[in-house]
Symmetry: C2
Subunit: 272 residues, 2 copies
């Protein structure tokens, strides 16, 4: 998928919403447990009720791996069920030595046909490069995450006063292009997003942490939007667990519409 195609979806749906498909068997509505594959049924209902608002879907691999080998079957079925014009992200945070990263890339891009995978930067260029060798596929590199622990290492300043996440952006942007590389940038601080935009003005950013983790959509748009939108904002629990009853699909849709309407406003201000 090209950045133009992603932007076309954003314009069509007036939305830059990514829905995190992170289903926990212990949290999905109880009436689903009688289904043959409760998690797949849950995902289908969530997708059906959010597809008009979401331009991207992001299953986090941990939720599927925790179900054992059957979980990967559920993930594969979920991917097949998603319309081909939605952007699909394997939230896997992989990263290993070159030969091994190549195997992960093959698993996620060829066998599972994801459009993108999240990758951890710690092991450097040869751990990221193999993911960049697939036409039309994307690496989404962790830069500044939104969790508490992001303060442990990501903000350590080097001898030029540059925090580690900025070194990651600066160095890694030479490894790929704006057509195969995005960055994870947490939404917890508006000024950090502004700093990120100075270094990577044209790359798409995947922004977690709006909602459950406390970021504000207005701040993210103000500091992060570019003329191709350049943002995918993720919401997981706020949407998929909006209700624990039989109405969970409708409740998810309601939350997705609230976010989409807020996103349409921001697109109207910064990205006409």
């Amino acid at each position: 998928m090209t950045s133009q195609e992603i932007f076309a979806q954003i314009q069509k749906k007036s939305s830059f919403l990514c829905v995190g498909l992170d289903p926990d068997i212990q949290r999905i509505p109880k009436h689903l447990l009688k289904e043959e594959d409760p998690v797949f049924t849950f995902n289908k209902v969530i997708i059906d009720h959010t597809i008009d608002q979401a331009v991207a879907y992001k299953p986090n691999l941990a939720f599927y791996e925790a179900m054992g080998p059957a979980g990967l079957e559920t993930l594969a079925k979920t991917l097949e069920y998603l319309p081909k014009d939605t952007f699909t992200i394997a939230d896997a945070k992989r990263g290993d030595i070159g030969n091994t990263s190549r195997l992960y890339a093959k698993a996620f891009f060829e066998q599972m046909n994801f459009d993108a995978i999240t990758v951890a930067p710690y092991m450097g260029e040869d751990s990221v490069g193999p993911f960049l060798e697939f036409d039309g596929k994307w690496v989404i590199l962790l830069a500044l995450t939104s969790n508490q622990g992001s303060k442990d290492f990501q903000v350590i300043k080097n001898q030029s006063n540059q925090p580690l996440y900025a070194s990651v952006l600066e160095k890694s942007k030479a490894w790929g292009t704006t057509e195969n590389m995005m960055y994870v940038v947490g939404a917890t601080r508006g000024e950090s997003i502004a700093e990120v935009r100075k270094l990577v003005p044209d790359h798409f950013l995947l922004v977690p942490g709006v909602g459950a983790q406390g970021g504000s959509l207005e701040e993210v748009a103000k500091f992060g939007m570019n003329n191709q939108c350049g943002l995918l904002v993720n919401s997981s629990r706020g949407i998929i667990y909006a209700s624990s009853g039989e109405d969970f699909g409708k409740a998810a849709k309601k939350e997705a519409i609230l976010l989409q309407e807020a996103m349409a406003q921001q697109l109207n201000i910064y990205c006409k």
Copy 2:
């Protein structure tokens, strides 16, 4: 497994060898392809022929995920086949926000019953902590890896002249203990291992990169060994692909014995 139990195995076998079970279906001997589960058969033969020399086995998850859901069944069978007194490491390099790391921990420690998992430090304490909550289980945190890309970020110096990998060691050693935390430290530079030992004198180190990646066992032992040995040195390709013929088991044994004998010498010098 406790560090005492690991050390007891090291003494019993006069070896601190870890065998990387990274089987690639395209590289395993051709005569195995007629087997029902060629990779499991391959692993069994490698284990049978190295069990007297190896105190630990380390399957890299990428090799199993690349085989799809069936690969995880192969991995589970391999784990069951390993004797209970060997130390088993899931080389998975995971690391995610707290709730998600907890799911990975459950998958690797409870469902698959690994003794240890490799974890990437970039997301900080709350991404590592959930792995430390399991009795008798271990986190092996990436500190200084042995690949080319380790120079991209791991050696960036902070304003106190401390490289990132040293900050990782210093900060993270407070998160766990010498009974639930080890570190990955590449063998490519002896003086780096000496630096690591200053910060974590008592932790076990998992050392890749001896052999294929160019480190010297003598250097590793000289700078890295402590009075409980404190080292697990990994070899993957050098052992498992020692021959591509029907004699691959015997060839693997021969390579394992060469390493074990060299290790016995080092134990004799530094850890009597």
